[in-house]
């Protein structure tokens, strides 16, 4: 046993799968401890806030200020102040005045503004433009001049109907984000309901994993039990079990799942019930493979010897059959967990998964993202991390399984 585990960790595939899986598991366990809170709390008003760090403007103005004179601060500010439409308007003016601006790079905001300052007056005088256009250009110019001059904002407060100035914000004022009381990091932004996507995702991964685990345990337990009985006892028992297994396995399990879930009202469908249903429809192939393994074991001489030593049926199954198929059953279990997670995702995508209001699952998150067309409007943070999580969970489980297969299956040993 110890040896087998040691061998497992010699298989690079198993190790890769195991490391990824453990990393995911640790994240699921540790993140809620570090950052507690209800994963379904709607923190944002409005949908799909971009990923990033959010600083409370309200707290920032009253936070203690520091003064910095960064040399490139003005440039950056100016560059940001000129929008694409401003740029077009400026160039249109030069065109109208038949000025040659080919000497400067029009995408370089600073060069453009320098050129603007030098030629604005002449251009306005020579160009024939409508009045409204000229007014817009004048406004643009005054904005540029104000930015260059470094206008200040006054923060005022109303006390007893009187306006009291409490501070002035100039362009050299900075606040340290550590000193601002409310800074929120939303690495994956918010979803369509304004919920923190990362927190929701981690909670959903936990729930999905639990669904997979319950489904896997049920499928493996039922499959193992029926497979052992059918394989070891043979005869009528085998015929009956094989018949039911065959009937169930010719019906695609997704069709069965859809029908069963559709017939249960959404209010009753919790994650656990969903897991039970998935487990109850996916034991067939475990049964079939356990049965065939047991049949080949049943005719091994050590089982005959055990029988001839007068051991009971129970003891033969527990000591002479089960240990031989244990590694196989563990592998089947891992695959069942992974397919349980995928089955939940499929069902939820169709709107037949667990009810939508109390717990997030990976499938539900996908469902919400699709319903609010996150995928057509470029809100990648609402669905891409979910896809990635499902992929990594199933990938790590399947990789562990392949690694185990290499260790346990003598036919694959090179």
């Amino acid at each position: 046993m110890k040896n087998t585990i040691k061998q497992l960790f010699h298989s690079s595939k198993f190790v890769i799968g195991f490391v990824i899986f453990v990393a995911i598991l640790l994240t699921i366990i540790i993140y809620p401890l570090v950052s507690p809170g209800n994963p379904l709390e709607m923190v944002g008003v409005g949908t799909f806030a971009r990923p990033g760090t959010y600083v409370s403007l309200y707290d920032a103005v009253t936070t203690e200020k520091d003064t910095f004179k960064f040399s490139d601060a003005d440039e950056k500010r100016l560059a940001n102040a000129i929008s694409d439409s401003d740029r077009e308007a400026m160039l249109a003016l030069f065109d109208a005045a038949a000025m040659d601006y080919s000497s400067i790079d029009v995408n370089d905001s600073n060069a453009l503004i320098e050129f603007w300052d030098a030629n604005y007056q002449t251009a306005m005088d020579t160009a024939k433009l409508k009045k409204s256009q000229k007014r817009d250009l004048r406004l643009l110019d005054s904005r540029i001049q104000a930015l260059k001059a470094g206008e200040t904002f006054k923060v005022v407060e109303e006390v007893d109907g009187e306006t009291v100035e409490i501070s002035t914000i100039t362009k050299t004022d900075y606040v340290n984000t550590n000193k601002v009381i409310n800074v929120r990091n939303l690495p994956l932004g918010t979803d369509n309901f304004g919920r923190d996507t990362l927190r929701e995702l981690i909670a959903a991964a936990g729930v999905s994993l639990r669904i997979g685990l319950i489904a896997g345990i049920i499928a493996t337990f039922v499959g193992l039990l029926l497979g052992l009985l059918a394989g070891y006892l043979g005869g009528v028992v085998d015929n009956i079990i094989t018949f039911f297994t065959n009937v169930l396995s010719v019906i695609p399990s997704i069709v069965l799942l859809i029908l069963i879930n559709y017939s249960i009202s959404q209010e009753l469908r919790g994650p656990t019930l969903c897991a039970l249903i998935i487990g109850a429809t996916s034991w067939t192939w475990t049964t079939r493979s356990v049965r065939s393994q047991v049949i080949s074991l049943r005719n091994r001489d050590h089982v005959n010897l055990s029988k001839l030593s007068g051991h009971s049926l129970m003891r033969i199954i527990l000591t002479d059959i089960l240990p031989y198929i244990a590694s196989y059953v563990v592998m089947a279990f891992i695959l069942q967990v992974s397919s349980g997670i995928l089955a939940e995702a499929q069902l939820s995508m169709l709107g037949l998964g667990p009810k939508t209001t109390t717990t997030p699952t990976l499938g539900l998150m996908m469902n919400w993202a699709t319903l609010y067309s996150a995928h057509t409007t470029g809100r990648w943070w609402a669905y891409f991390p979910v896809i990635l999580t499902i992929t990594f969970i199933t990938f790590s489980l399947n990789f562990m399984n392949t690694g185990m297969d290499q260790v346990f299956n003598p036919a694959l040993r090179d």
Binding site: R300, D301, N304, K307, L308, S309, G310, T319, P323
Partner: protein, 281 residues
């Protein structure tokens, strides 16, 4: 070694009367064992010789009580064998034990060697003996087959060679002391050098305990070396039986004659000129 005691007239130990086993029904019906009769005596070393497909393995499973009998009966110590319920079956199995062909599949790979032997002691009713006494018994059994128990206690059977594993099987039989040992090709997967050791141990076992040994083999030279009585089996029937010398040196049945002449020998010429190619498709 050449002077062997004659065991062929002892009291009856195991007999078969019209023993038959049929597999399948209708057109697919296959009579694997076809109305065979035999009388094995106490202490007799019997060989059942047949080629693959002759039904010798089916017969051995019926003798062991692992396979139902289609027709006929087995007499155990002169009385019809009764294995109608679990208790009686366990009682019968105290009297007959096997050694199988493949030593590598005869052991539960998860059990250590001393667990295998302790199990035998428990089966003989020695479950509550003091541990020292058990060790003594196991050491005795191992030394009977030239194994050192002290070196084996913490080992698993698969750490031994094929020959050593088969010898451990004999040690198991030595502890169980059944009336009958059914050895199903115990040396066919063992090298020639270890084979001699195992065969001589089986002979010693018989001489020491007086148990009947039923030896199933396809190797007629081996059967001749080891057994008192030889049964030749073809297509589920015994075509010839008798004392080893009579059957081998003076065969009567055509099949026996062919079998003996087709086996390569070293003192007599192995005549290939008369070989007819069987080209039926």
């Amino acid at each position: 070694m050449s002077e062997r005691k004659d065991y062929t007239n002892g009291p009856l130990c195991l007999s078969g009367r019209n023993l038959t086993r049929v597999f399948g029904t209708g057109a697919k019906q296959n009579v694997a064992v076809d109305h065979v009769n035999f009388d094995f005596h106490e202490g007799e070393f019997v060989s059942i010789v047949g080629e693959s497909g002759s039904g010798k393995t089916t017969l051995s499973k019926m003798l062991l009580g692992l396979l139902n009998i289609s027709e006929g009966e087995i007499l155990y110590q002169g009385k019809p064998r009764d294995i109608s319920n679990r208790k009686k079956l366990n009682e019968y199995w105290k009297g007959i034990q096997p050694i199988f062909q493949d030593p590598f599949s005869s052991y539960n790979i998860f059990h250590k060697i001393d667990a295998v032997l302790l199990d035998c002691i428990a089966m003989r009713g020695g479950k509550h003996l003091p541990y020292e006494k058990k060790v003594e018994m196991m050491t005795e059994a191992c030394s009977f087959v030239n194994l050192k128990f002290a070196e084996l206690t913490n080992k698993y059977p698969f750490e031994l060679s094929g020959g050593q594993m088969q010898r451990l099987m004999i040690a198991r039989i030595f502890l169980l002391k059944p009336k009958i040992l059914l050895a199903d090709e115990p040396t066919s997967m063992v090298d020639a050098c270890s084979r001699a050791t195992i065969l001589d141990m089986l002979l010693n076992l018989r001489d020491e305990t007086g148990m009947t040994i039923i030896f199933i083999t396809h190797d007629i030279g081996l059967a001749y070396y080891i057994s008192d009585t030889i049964y030749i089996m073809e297509h589920g029937k015994f075509v010839e039986s008798g004392k080893a010398d009579e059957v081998i040196l003076n065969p009567q049945a055509a099949y026996t004659k062919r079998l003996i002449s087709d086996v390569p020998k070293i003192h007599e010429e192995w005549d290939l000129s008369t070989v007819e190619m069987n080209n039926t498709l």
